[in-house]
């Protein structure tokens, strides 16, 4: 759906991404992981077309990113960005309606009535009771759900998530990613998500792309990618990999330096 070919990006004279090539496959969830400062957010901005590559190319559905108008792109690709929404004076419903902007003409009208779509988004994010509250009266977690509802009414084919679970407690982290995955499965969406938490990445992603030192260090299923050797190389820390008893996906257990093994691993 989105393919990246020999992409390089230099920010303030410092090369951040160097000659990387990969693809976001249609209908799958991709996790982009890597240590701090490796350029994950930069990569996401390049994928969404708001940033131009220094060299190489990003293409969307077979055509160069730069060939799309901003509005045409916004109808097909939506971004849930890091840090969420600011505490503005707009109501929850008004903000979600802003997601329809790419479909509106200069007078702010749309051919078809979209209120059912907005109601559906409100309901599926559990925001129906808050619809007429102002954004600045909501908690950070509630604002993040508003942001996701706004992305939903944009009706995209691809969504890009930039660390969507930051500032959320574990309950909301799982709830948010469950919602994304449910929606992804219903509509056959393509998802690219920058994730900090390797265990969440392993639980929800079909494909994982590991960024390290400006390049792609590994790609593949969580099982193929998340190994003790890779964690040690990329994050400079020792970890044990165990298999999740219910989902069967690899999970990472951290360990303090110099820990002695006290249980026999069977």
């Amino acid at each position: 759906m989105i393919s990246v070919e020999r992409l390089s990006k230099t920010v303030n004279g410092r090369p951040v991404l160097d000659n990387i090539t990969f693809e976001l496959e249609p209908g799958r969830i991709h996790g982009i992981i890597g240590p701090n400062g490796v350029g994950k957010s930069t990569l996401l901005q390049l994928l969404s077309g708001v940033m131009k590559p220094s060299s190489g190319e990003v293409s969307f559905d077979g055509a160069r990113m730069s060939g799309y108008s901003r509005k045409a792109l916004a109808k097909r690709l939506a971004v849930l960005q890091q840090g969420g929404l600011p505490p503005a004076g707009f109501t929850v419903r008004q903000v979600i309606e802003m997601g329809r902007f790419p479909y509106q003409n200069w007078f702010g009208d749309e051919r078809e009535d979209h209120s059912a779509l907005i109601d559906f988004a409100l309901e599926s994010m559990g925001l129906s009771d808050l619809a007429n509250r102002a954004l600045d009266q909501l908690s950070g977690g509630e604002r993040q759900r508003v942001a996701l509802a706004k992305v939903m009414v944009q009706e995209p084919e691809v969504i890009l998530l930039d660390e969507p679970t930051t500032y959320l407690d574990i309950g909301y982290q799982v709830q948010l990613l469950d919602t994304v995955r449910q929606w992804q499965q219903d509509r056959g969406l393509t998802v690219g998500a920058v994730l900090h938490d390797l265990n969440l990445a392993s639980l929800y992603c079909d494909q994982i792309i590991v960024l390290h030192q400006g390049g792609v260090a590994a790609r593949g299923t969580p099982m193929e990618v998340l190994t003790e050797a890779l964690i040690s190389e990329v994050y400079q820390t020792e970890a044990s990999i165990v298999i999740h008893p219910i989902t069967g996906t690899p999970q990472i257990l951290l360990q303090p330096k110099g820990s002695r093994q006290i249980l026999a691993v069977t």
Partner: protein
């Protein structure tokens, strides 16, 4: 709309020379082509006061106020800065430098009747660029830093205007006019300068209302929803500067209108720029009209400069906004 109409009626009828309410309207009605000649009923002096002095002044006030209210809403929206307005950003002073220079050195028709607004627009734009340059550090513009830069540039340029006026022969009134703003001694020609700018600026900013709503969520959000951020910023900033320049070239620097009006409108109708922009134009007109009526009447037959009245009303309001921001309720743009 209704409030504007009522304000125009009231303001026309209130003045330092005592002409009764019914006489004012009698004279005006008799200007309509199918009525008989007004001079049968009233003296030439009365007719002149109503048609030449008051009517043009009231209409000009409405237009200038609309320009300043609009410009304020535009600046606040695109800079996402609740303290921005043509005055606090220094754009008004920048425009007044250009206009004052032309008038005081006799170049006001260098390139035709549009010389003053054009040059005021150019110097206003340059001032805005200067303020941005001062305020920007590492690519980010802090809200307070921007206003501080505006105030610094504004006082520098204000001193410059004073200096220029001091060097010319007819002094004190002119200085007051440029630094404090006034609608006195204006005529229909001035209206024809402001009106075209308003006719361009109003629909332009209204068209960008929804874009400015998305700006409230942040420039990145706006970009992801399909807005060309840099182009939108450029157009709204240029439009707002044009409106400011038009207002300043006929009425001098009238402060705080663009700050107070959009905030009051926001209190009434909420943060939606699609309503906020047109209503700021109406609100600006009403605000100037009443300020000017106060300026004319309170110390009659003397006049208070209009900018004094708006500053007396606006500066405490500015202080209140600053105070509320410091209390942590920011982002209420």
């Amino acid at each position: 709309m209704l409030l504007l109409a009522v304000s125009i009626v009231a303001s026309l009828s209130i003045g330092s020379s005592t002409i009764s309410f019914s006489d004012v309207w009698g004279i005006l009605l008799h200007q309509l082509p199918w009525m008989d000649d007004a001079s049968d009923h009233w003296s030439a002096g009365e007719i002149a006061i109503v048609t030449q002095v008051r009517l043009s002044r009231v209409l000009l006030g409405v237009l200038v106020g609309a320009c300043l209210g609009l410009a304020g809403a535009g600046f606040q929206g695109v800079l996402r800065n609740p303290l921005a307005d043509p005055y606090t950003l220094g754009v008004s002073s920048g425009s007044s430098v250009g206009a004052a220079f032309l008038i005081l050195f006799g170049y006001q028709t260098l390139i035709g009747e549009w010389t003053i607004p054009v040059i005021a627009f150019v110097t206003g734009t340059l001032t805005l660029l200067g303020v941005f340059f001062l305020a920007r550090s590492r690519g980010v513009m802090q809200i307070e830093t921007l206003v501080l830069s505006g105030v610094i540039i504004q006082s520098f340029l204000g001193a410059f205007v004073s200096l220029m006026v001091s060097m010319s022969n007819d002094v004190v009134n002119q200085i007051l006019f440029w630094l404090m703003g006034s609608l006195a001694m204006k005529n229909w020609a001035d209206i024809y300068v402001v009106l075209p700018c308003l006719v361009i600026g109003l629909p332009l900013l209204i068209a960008y209302g929804q874009a400015l709503n998305l700006f409230v969520l942040g420039e990145r959000h706006a970009a992801h929803l399909g807005i060309r951020v840099e182009r939108t910023k450029l157009i709204v900033l240029i439009g707002s500067t044009l409106l400011t320049a038009a207002a300043v070239s006929v009425s001098g620097v009238i402060g705080f209108v663009g700050l107070v009006v959009p905030h009051l409108i926001r209190l009434i109708v909420g943060p939606d720029y699609r309503l906020l922009i047109p209503l700021s134009a109406f609100g600006g007109g009403i605000f100037i009209l009443w300020s000017d009526t106060i300026a004319r009447v309170v110390l009659a037959p003397k006049e208070i400069p209009l900018g004094v009245v708006t500053a007396l009303l606006g500066a405490p309001f500015f202080a209140y906004l600053l105070y509320r921001r410091k209390k942590g309720q920011e982002g209420q743009v």
